[in-house]
Symmetry: D2
């Protein structure tokens, strides 16, 4: 149970932290301002130019596609990837994700943002040579973006068997129908490809019913009906969309790993993605705590710095303790993933999905409160951080479903 990053990972972490301090943090206020302006004047969906510049710079420094997993990176790590030309273990990548989590744009800059990372992993692990050439390479290259369409508006998607969208084999084509929402990334003007999940054979065994299909955005019958907000925020330039599929036809070669493999792929997809999400939230909570400390030391009321009033110090201590526990839990889950794969870490991955967003919501809420009214506004990154943490108590499975998984595995020890 060794959570220490390898020397290479430690070096990369330091370099990512340095890049963020020198290149990203300083431009964030301007970025937020420019994005707000773009919202007002029309097009917040085309990534602002500064993003492309930062991406190039990160790539030049070898800080690119750092998420590439050790066991599947293969040639791609060298061709498109990280300094040193190898993928990282989950334990090694975790501190990098923590660093990136401190900024809303950093994951994009390092080509390490959801949902593209998850989609790239799927293609790495399950894609055909052709699928990888056509979609994985431009994604790794940062030239295009992708989205993942799974959740549906009309049913409780926490139960996968509720899924109603279909992808039916018809000769050498597969015909896609249905309606999805919370498809992150479809707002982005650079988004070219959707990974669609639907029912191919409703009569098959529960784990063999679904398929995963690559659907180019420009296929006839694909329509982004609208972009959804999360508590007023649209998360530009990615966007979370509601997408309808009406008799969408793609070649059967677009099915990943063949019809009926959707469920198996989805299972494999989620482990590392949840590590990434949770570790980024750990970083975000660290940022919130840092801001709370700084604000609490600088501002005064009733003749004292805010930190010396009421329970503020106790809240800062509780935040430190909560963050450290959360980080260790994520590292532990990452270590289990590295040693035995997703099936070895089912409970641990569900556990972090319950614990970490709730911790982040609490810590960020505390910091926001210490910032007074300003904390609610765009003047600080806290309100957006709170929405982010809150969203992740639903995204990738609601808390309740993950608690169910943890309980089921716990009780199985005694049944």
């Amino acid at each position: 149970m060794d959570f220490a990053p390898s020397p290479r990972a430690a070096d990369l972490t330091a370099r990512v932290a340095g890049f963020m301090a020198s290149e990203i943090t300083p431009i964030e206020p301007a970025y937020r301002r420019d994005l707000a302006e773009a919202r007002r004047t029309g097009d917040p969906w085309t990534p602002l130019p500064v993003l492309a510049a930062l991406k190039q710079k990160a790539r030049d420094e070898g800080l690119w596609n750092l998420f590439l997993p050790q066991e599947h990176a293969g040639e791609y790590a060298e061709r498109f990837g990280t300094d040193g030309g190898e993928g990282l273990t989950n334990v090694d990548y975790a501190p990098l994700a923590e660093q990136m989590g401190r900024s809303a744009i950093a994951p994009l800059v390092f080509n390490c943002n959801a949902p593209d990372t998850g989609n790239m992993e799927v293609l790495l692990r399950y894609g055909s040579d052709e699928q990888r050439r056509e979609w994985l390479e431009p994604l790794l290259d940062g030239r295009i973006r992708s989205a993942f369409t799974m959740t549906e508006p009309e049913v409780a998607s926490s139960d996968a068997t509720n899924m109603e969208a279909t992808c039916v084999v018809d000769g050498d084509q597969i015909v896609v129908n249905g309606r999805k929402w919370w498809s992150t990334g479809v707002g982005n003007t650079e988004c070219r490809i959707l990974v669609f999940m639907g029912v191919t054979d409703p009569d098959a065994d529960r784990h063999r019913r679904h398929s995963m299909v690559l659907v180019p955005m420009d296929t006839p019958g694909v329509k982004v009906e609208r972009l959804l907000d999360t508590m007023g925020l649209y998360d530009e330039p990615l966007g979370h969309g509601e997408v309808s599929f009406t008799d969408v036809r793609v070649p059967i070669s677009n099915v990943i790993s063949g019809p009926g493999e959707g469920f198996a792929i989805a299972q494999g997809r989620l482990g590392p993605g949840r590590i990434h999400h949770c570790m980024r939230l750990v970083g975000l909570a660290e940022l919130a705590l840092e801001l709370a400390c700084r604000r609490g030391l600088e501002r005064t009321a009733f003749g004292k710095p805010l930190v010396d009033l009421g329970g503020n110090r106790e809240r800062i201590a509780e935040a430190r303790i909560a963050i450290d526990q959360a980080r260790l839990l994520v590292l532990h889950a990452a270590w289990k993933l590295d040693h035995g794969g997703p099936t070895n870490a089912l409970s641990e991955v569900s556990a972090i999905k319950v614990a970490v967003p709730a911790m982040a919501q609490r810590v960020i809420d505390m910091s926001l409160q210490l910032h007074g009214g300003g904390g609610m506004s765009d003047d600080f990154p806290l309100a957006a951080a709170l929405v982010n943490a809150r969203s992740l108590r639903l995204a990738d499975g609601p808390d309740e479903v993950h608690r169910g998984t943890v309980a089921r595995l716990e009780l199985a020890r005694y049944s």
Copy 2:
């Protein structure tokens, strides 16, 4: 300790509830859609026409200015006001506010929205005849809107002695300088008058330093610098603004109750306003619980209605219990206000300001979670409700300051 509404109040409550059910709730989805459209296309700051129509209708039915306080309503209740021509006690008004709280627009429709109600109360209690004629009457008439400017961006405003803005007497004028923010209502194109609070004499006794001044929006030197968001929401058409005052001159007759009276007025202003805010939040929490129950009964997962999964029923029970406790606490504070005035209810009013927004945040968060991803979006009123409840843990004094008041008064019993 009788919390039962008078027959007249019970009748008004039933009529407000009926009006909301027949006139307001049905148009809310369209209102949200039209407002979103107005945001996109340019002007969300001019109230949508439907509001004016609803206001007229409410007024025709005698459901107008229901907030008018019994002890100060005087002639105005009859001239501009409620059916029956009399003001209401706080206990009587509370269930009306609860009903209105279920809708973001209802308080506007009944001319009962913050901050106008507070400003009207100030003018009723402390305004000169001239001030009332010029500003109170059009406000009661619903022809203009107002804002209150107190909190400042550069200091911790939870400590009133930190206030830096000034209003200095210069002959028969008073000169206003400084910068305020979180001035709710300044975005509204119908906003005509600001109630400004600032320091007149820094050397006076702590409670005699401040003055409250009526500053017409169009006075030279008044500038709305920007409108602030709360977690992405701008609360159109009211808006929360940052306002600068640069050598703004108004006649000394615009000072309410004379120089040095600002603090005393502020104290009197806040009791009923907090009752209103809290009672509206009780109504909002009731709405959230109702939505949770309905959604939980309708949606199914894993073969059962959501309410029968995991801890959902327990959470619904906890919400019912929390709401009932909160309502009773507010009624108790209202009853204390009615019997002895603000100084008799200092602890009670601070207590509800701590307990109710926190309760509402918790209950709404629970309901949102039960709604899955949809709950985060504008498809349901829950995300906006959550922002509203969260904001009220800061607005009108942060939780921590109110806990300090409750503790001080509790400990005084033993010192």
Copy 3:
């Protein structure tokens, strides 16, 4: 919704408070010491002599059997009872129970302790003339004590249909068999009568299966197997016992209200009893808060009174707010009971049973923490208070069952 006590109840409350201040509180340290000594040297189960003296004194002052319910007290209020010769409503009795809750022995002193009050109520409402003459009168007279045997060790008694003990009609006798535990009062050497509940007809309708039978303690076949502790405390002189019944025969006239009526009686028994328990806990929490304030003002550390350290003031404020909410909720439930009876207050009574013990546990735990190590010991009444509050999250139905009731009734509004 009027929670104000009647003038007579206000007068009684003042007199009970006065009696406690002058007669009970001052002797409590000696009582605790004497009881500890009695534990060491042998017999803590015979009430200490001071109790009898205090009971006589309370009775002389008309502070006796104050719990007698207005609607069923009848002649008994005058013959055995309260000053003024009438029973009280639940709302009127509530503040008396709150006062008594501040002391572990006060309920005994005023002949208002569980389970005797519940048993007396059952006899008042459902007993035959003979049953009342033989058992109710000596109970009201304070000459004997009683116990209630319902919960069983071998099954989850939160589900009444799990009950296994039987009472089978055999000619003009009824034969009782089974094992009960948590029968409070059976340790007391003055305990003479058990109210037993068991299954008479397992094939009858779910609500007609059970009977309630009066079983004198000295009936052959009745055996107190042992006395149970709650976290080390035995609650002398009452005691919580495990009692076995082996072919115990009593005349059929000992069945209360006839065979098959047990369930109906149990339902009626529980409403007021839960009001009493909860209101006593409100008093106990008030005592804990008072002790916290006094200790926090007296003791110093790091150069300040404890109340001025860390979050202590915020915790005191939260305790005040929580207690006030809990009291109002109990008063509300009492008012509902008074206006419509138990079936009108099912949700409200379950709600207080969830909210109040949890509140008391929290507030007492806070006060104990402020007392440092001493708080854990018998030097202060806090540790015993904490055990008391904790126990009441299980006694009379666990939290979970009551949350289930509240949720069921809430959801019924929408089904």
Copy 4:
């Protein structure tokens, strides 16, 4: 950051677990019964004979003095100690402590119980040869027991500068006066030596005022005034005592490390001890969770196993997550202690002292609730476990002081 135990530690953990399963767990119900009997009939303060037998057996298997710290064990590990003749790191000892924590008597059996371990560590690190020969060796041999006297009844001992007891140098003697309480172990008839801490020079620098003195129990002037309960439990055969010291004279050679060194020793003493306490609580929480799962699967109500009712599964999941986070946090603190010593782990050790007892209190409370009434009694180890966890929110420094430490170090990063 490697938390994996060494092969030797893994082997020892397995052997301790095996010993507990075969030798300790099976006799615990009888032990509890015999101890209860000893309480009733007179002498619970002489360890029951079974303890001596188990100690011998553990020693024979090399499971003895396992707590001996690697860096100070020296010759003692071989002479009195663990299999393999070497001390363990904190990371290596942690899982052993977790195992032992599942039983109230296991720490005694393995000669690893507080406060003897802390006292032995002090003598190892700071004792003179003579002190070690006279007191350390019989302690390591298990022939005698010791106590630590620090906390005082008349002051808030959370602030060490409040200490009033004195130990004044008088020629070649040191004269001890004062009153201490919560001195664990003084009830034990085998207790021979007290480690006393008091003020030697009130005018010295804050960290040079105190001395630590070895005071044999039989020195004239030492008197155990009484034994204190924690929520009714006396923790026999150890006992927590109030001890008075009246002109107690011992040779100056009994001062550990010389006059004025008390504070420095105390600092060094507490790090590992807190790791032990916390890791034992992790084990106790694991036991509580196991019991909750077993009970929840076995008992049925309303036609289902308890685990399938209401929020029980969610609570089981939350308990699993909380325990795992707590364990990792303790391992992290242990690792920091191992790499840099106490000054390197100040925040981490305070953090576990806040987080772990609170976690254990919560998890045990949950399990107790699932056990119904029985959980409150001595039939299950849960009530005693709850008292244990609750006590540790005060012992070795209350939560609030440790939160203060964590906050101070956190804020120091930004000051």
